[in-house]
């Protein structure tokens, strides 16, 4: 299994939006990490990760998000997660991620969050 993950990239003003769909697990998280790193390498400082259609996340998936967050924090950037589904939120809660990530119910709210810089 190479991981059924689909990753799309968009931009909204100065915000890079990465949409991750499907499963973010040991088999697919490397691909996600590469894509995110490419955006950050290109100078992206505001990253919105849209998880509306993410069905599953494993610890390797959490690691990718955490690595992105650490990198952005170091460079004075920001990362917001939008629209995580209940089963994803459950994993986030178990890991304690809800305490270190800014979670927004949807993309619009997350974009608004970047705007006010919170």
């Amino acid at each position: 299994m190479s991981g059924h993950v689909e990753i799309l990239e968009r931009r909204a003003g100065a915000v890079d939006i990465i949409v991750v769909k499907g499963r973010l697990d040991a088999g697919s998280s490397e691909k996600a990490e590469e894509r995110i790193n490419r955006v950050l390498d290109a100078g992206g400082r505001s990253l919105l990760v849209n998880l509306c259609d993410l069905d599953y996340i494993s610890s390797s998936g959490l690691r990718v998000l955490l690595a992105a967050l650490k990198r952005l924090k170091k460079d004075g950037g920001a990362l917001r997660i939008a629209c995580a589904q209940p089963q994803i939120l459950e994993v986030f809660t178990m890991a304690g991620f809800h305490r270190i990530f800014s979670l927004s119910p949807d993309e619009a709210a997350a974009l608004a969050g970047f705007a006010v810089g919170s």
Partner: protein, 447 residues
């Protein structure tokens, strides 16, 4: 004449093969020319030039020949020194034969080597390639004919000779250069392929070695055997995956007959994950041994680990201290998937849920702890997500439900047998799917 040309082509092929396979020629391709290798190549291409003269067909004292071939190829492939040197050898030999075309023929041969060498320099000290080489041969031979017409007198005789030999000489020299270019081109491609293959193989070898090292580090940080703990029966198992690694379990004897049980999963793979696992385990052990509460031990360990965590490394950890005297289990769950407590004689297991954030991300994080009272016959199953997230060929996960059913089906067996049953169930479920994540289990039973 056709047979003479054919014979000549055969000789050229053999000579081209031998020269290009010589050590001196290899040095040229590697850009490591020495005076010695240049001298050897000059002699070889010079000899080819003499052969070119000797093998020619004589027409009115002039010969249709491939004397220019050696100097041309020597220059094109090895540079101006070899080209000019071979040209001088061929020219000296031709000049010694005399005849009314001796001067222009000798001159053309020297120039053939020189021009070839200049093209080599212009191409950036390398062979220009087949098309360029053949084109050069055609041009060079036409030029050769031109200076013959220009320098030889009487003009009528010169014209007669040129009319006779021009076409066969252009064709023969172009063919010879073509053969050389083909063989040199093959050689260059062959060496490139070999270099790429070597790089690929050494990369593969390095990756394999890295995986082996990661595996060895990981295994060396797992307990060789679990300690004897009064009032408990224990069993544990860890099956590392090929690439993803970093699970560990531990049983640490504490003062007062108590024991700390640990199961943990480092997110990441390869050597970095294995080293992070070794760090986490050591830090945790050191902190467990200081007399303090479970939550303080984990909090301290987290602080130290978080300071060292790079690029999103983290570890999920379940840490439980069991006191056999009071049968109390106090645990801290730092983002690890909840262990299951099967109460003796009752159905559904209890989940020992999270009491804090994963280790390594928030240095100042605080952790809660829970205490539960154990009873004789209770069974605690600690596991990592490699168990529940093992997938079958239909991409279904093994899941918690199957895990619970498996354990409930063998609840009364010794812990060692329960561990085996779970492993067998997961392996059977996965079928031919590769194991993606480490699979780690620990079973405690209260006697």
């Amino acid at each position: 004449m056709f047979f003479v040309l054919l014979q000549m082509i055969c000789v050229v092929m053999v000579v081209a093969y031998l020269i290009t396979r010589s050590a001196s020629f290899t040095r040229v391709l590697d850009d490591l020319v020495t005076w010695k290798s240049q001298a050897i190549l000059t002699l070889l291409f010079g000899a080819l030039s003499i052969y070119g003269t000797e093998s020619g067909i004589t027409i009115l004292g002039a010969t249709a020949n491939v004397r220019d071939l050696g100097p041309m190829v020597g220059g094109l492939a090895c540079g101006p020194v070899v080209g000019l040197g071979a040209g001088l050898i061929g020219a000296a030999h031709r000049f010694s034969l005399g005849g009314f075309t001796a001067v222009p023929c000798a001159t053309a041969t020297i120039l053939a080597g020189l021009f070839g060498g200049l093209i080599f320099l212009a191409a950036g000290r390398k062979f220009i390639g087949m098309h360029g080489a053949v084109l050069f041969a055609v041009g060079m031979e036409s030029f050769h004919m031109g200076i013959t017409l220009l320098l030889c007198r009487p003009f009528d005789e010169a014209l007669e000779v040129v009319e006779g030999v021009a076409f066969p000489m252009i064709i023969a020299n172009a063919t010879g250069v073509f053969i050389f270019a083909l063989i040199i081109g093959n050689l260059i491609t062959e060496r490139q392929t070999k270099a790429e293959r070597d790089t690929f193989l050494s990369e593969l070898e390095r990756k394999k070695a890295e995986l082996r090292i990661a595996h060895d580090i990981q295994m060396s940080f797992l307990p060789e055997r679990l300690p004897e703990v009064a009032g408990l029966e224990l069993a544990a198992l860890s099956l590392p995956a090929k690439e993803v690694g970093g699970d560990f379990y531990d049983a640490i004897p504490l003062p007062g007959n108590r024991t700390a049980f640990v199961i943990a999963d480092v997110a990441g793979k390869g050597v970095p994950a294995a080293l992070f696992m070794a760090l986490s385990r050591t830090v945790l052990r050191a902190n467990a041994l200081v007399p303090r509460s479970a939550r303080e031990a984990v909090r301290e360990a987290n602080m130290l680990i978080a300071e060292d965590a790079k690029s999103g490394m983290f570890v999920t950890l379940f840490y439980a201290v069991v006191d056999p005297a009071t049968k109390m289990l106090t645990y801290v769950n730092a983002g690890h998937n909840p262990p299951l407590l099967f109460r003796s004689g009752s159905g559904r297991p209890l989940e020992l849920k999270g009491t804090g954030i994963i280790l390594g991300v928030m240095p100042e994080a605080d952790y809660g702890e829970e205490t539960i009272s154990l009873e004789s016959g209770d069974l605690v199953l600690l596991y990592t997500d490699g168990v529940t997230e093992a997938i079958n060929p239909g991409e279904e996960q093994f899941g918690e439900k199957r895990l619970i059913e498996t354990v409930m089906g063998c609840h009364d067996l010794p812990p060692g047998a329960i561990v085996d049953r779970v492993r067998d169930a997961v392996v059977r479920f996965s079928g031919d799917e590769p194991q993606f994540d480490d699979l780690t289990l620990m079973v405690l039973r209260v006697v």
